[in-house]
Subunit: 348 residues, 2 copies
């Protein structure tokens, strides 16, 4: 018997998107925000007294929770802060799943769910992601934990909150519904309000996308109030640090900057979609800060773009081998990408 | 059946030390460093370009790992970074324990081990902590995961590395030995070197104590190289943030400041011990940045100190009800504590 649990031994490690050291590449592979965080977040950083770091943080990060509650129209006891949205996923797997309690989600989606199920050693039931059917299929399975990534990555599809409400109602009393809204900043609307209607809801939010703080690792959950105490038992008391709380609080408080930045990304997203279609890609409407562009030569195009210093994301996975996931960049970055593609495509 | 797993429902939440909002209290309850972090850490903070936060961190925090490896005389592949030392404990429980794989430690010790065993749902075997016997008792049990807090909190005792080496040898091939060195900065020596001799070692380190960065949440493990890949599977790819990596790297690189600060704390520790003994406490030699002071009226003294604006730690736990854990503060803080005690003790 090895030192590690068998499920860990058997696990393939999660492969994060490539993070190049060079700063002169055009990096459109991990859905970062090309416009960066609010200047207010920068001020919070510069004004922070380093000597404050000698003391442990306030354990529940109430400063952030208060602002996030206001922004989302919920109460402070509907908010839990985490070290990136990923930590909220980890907490949910540890709180709600085990060998006897299963998890369900619709694939293709965020591949970290596979890893976390493997680590926890719970049974994972995957249904096929189709926006029209995913909700019904997940409801039929009624797992202990159901996860719906909405908008979905990497397909960029969006399911409306009224349909998700119906799913929540079906699952109430049977299991938790975790709605992964990591990309909701770029979608028409959120499911936040349903935490007040149902007792089984966790809405995951990230500061990495619309707020431009991927490097800060700050996420939060909007949760049914009855779930807070149990989730806090699993959460480490000091899971978010003093400095991050200040920076994230300043960023979420600056809703003007947020709306302006998100608006620019949405404009660029539509431009990019239209131009990619002109170049011969099939591109569905996106509700995220990336587009999923289909082309029979996707893998070749990925490699040639890489050689030209432009990094997009290629997934060697079923249903995704003919597609590229391309983060929406600045106007300049998007035009460079389109220029490169104009050169690459005729040579294939 | 509730939404939460039964072991989570049944768990008593971990209670972190009180973190008062007021800054005029004398806070000697959570073993923070009264002298604060290196000025170099502050410079790293001030020089950080906030716009860098828009990008995800380098996933393994190699900048910090390289310096930590040099400081500890090990290789970079012996180092893993975590969001506080607590996250390394969490990773170890998730990697090495489950319903079939047990954990063992010597009590009284850091109470988070109890929580993590409860969350993971593994069987926890507790032996009694006696510096002379703990090693032998832990070896006899040979759990899948053995944890030895050294120096131990809250008893402040220290077991020498040669005896821990013998324990490591006894456990090799049978289970992991995690040596929790959160307080080792104040002890005579570390077990770091044994990661090169055995394949089953994890040495936990914290930047919260000697380096004065409790608010930053940065810890690391010095581990047998063969364990790194498996631990990385359980670790979230982006578990430490960009800014923390810069600040922690600057702090650990400044060994001069570290030695100077630790020296001051050790001096104050001895002064505090001698004076507490004069006041009627029983105080063993400490190898940490706190003293454990025994007095039949410990709980009363705790309350009266609290009313006087001096916060120390009282544990309502077997073997600890007649003791106070007092963080070593600055000379001014320690003298205020001693003055207060001179007033309180005669009134009991």
């Amino acid at each position: 018997m090895g030192y590690f649990r068998e499920n860990i031994e058997n696990l393939e490690a999660y492969v994060p998107g490539y993070q190049p050291a060079e700063s002169d590449v055009i990096k459109l592979n991990t859905n970062e925000n090309a416009f960066g965080p609010s200047p207010k977040a920068g001020e919070a950083l510069k004004n922070f007294d380093p000597n404050q770091l000698r003391k442990y943080p306030q354990p529940s990060a109430d400063k952030f929770r208060k602002i996030a509650a206001e922004v989302n129209g919920v109460g402070i006891d509907n908010i839990i802060c985490t070290n990136g949205g990923d930590e909220l996923l980890t907490l949910a797997f540890r709180a709600f799943t085990d060998e006897k309690r299963n998890v369900c989600w619709a694939s293709p989606t965020y591949s970290l769910y596979d890893e976390l199920a493997g680590i926890q050693g719970c049974s994972a039931l995957r249904v096929t992601y189709q926006p029209d059917e995913a909700v019904q299929k997940i409801a039929e399975i009624s797992a202990s934990l159901s996860i719906l990534c909405n908008p979905n990555a990497p397909t960029a599809d969006f399911i409306t909150p009224d349909r998700i409400s119906m799913l929540a109602a079906r699952l109430e009393g049977l299991g938790i519904l975790l709605i992964d809204e990591a990309y909701v900043d770029f979608a028409p609307t959120s499911c936040a309000a349903i935490v007040k209607e149902f007792d089984n809801i966790i809405v995951l939010r990230s500061m990495s996308k619309g707020y431009g703080l991927a490097g800060l690792r700050f996420g939060y959950g909007i949760v049914s109030e009855n779930l807070l105490e149990g989730l806090n038992k699993v959460r480490d008391s000091y899971n978010v640090n003093r400095l991050s709380v200040e920076i994230a609080s300043a960023a979420i408080a600056d809703q003007n900057y947020f709306r302006k930045t998100v608006g620019k990304i949405k404009e660029q997203r539509e431009m990019l979609r239209v131009e990619l279609v002109k170049l011969g890609f099939e591109v569905n409407k996106s509700h995220t800060n990336f587009v999923l562009a289909q082309h029979p030569e996707a893998k070749q195009i990925y490699k040639k773009l890489f050689d030209a210093g432009i990094i997009v994301r290629y997934f060697d996975l079923d249903g995704l081998r003919d597609k590229l996931r391309i983060t929406v960049g600045t106007n300049r970055q998007n035009n460079k990408l389109l220029d490169s593609l104009s050169t690459i495509l005729p040579s294939l």
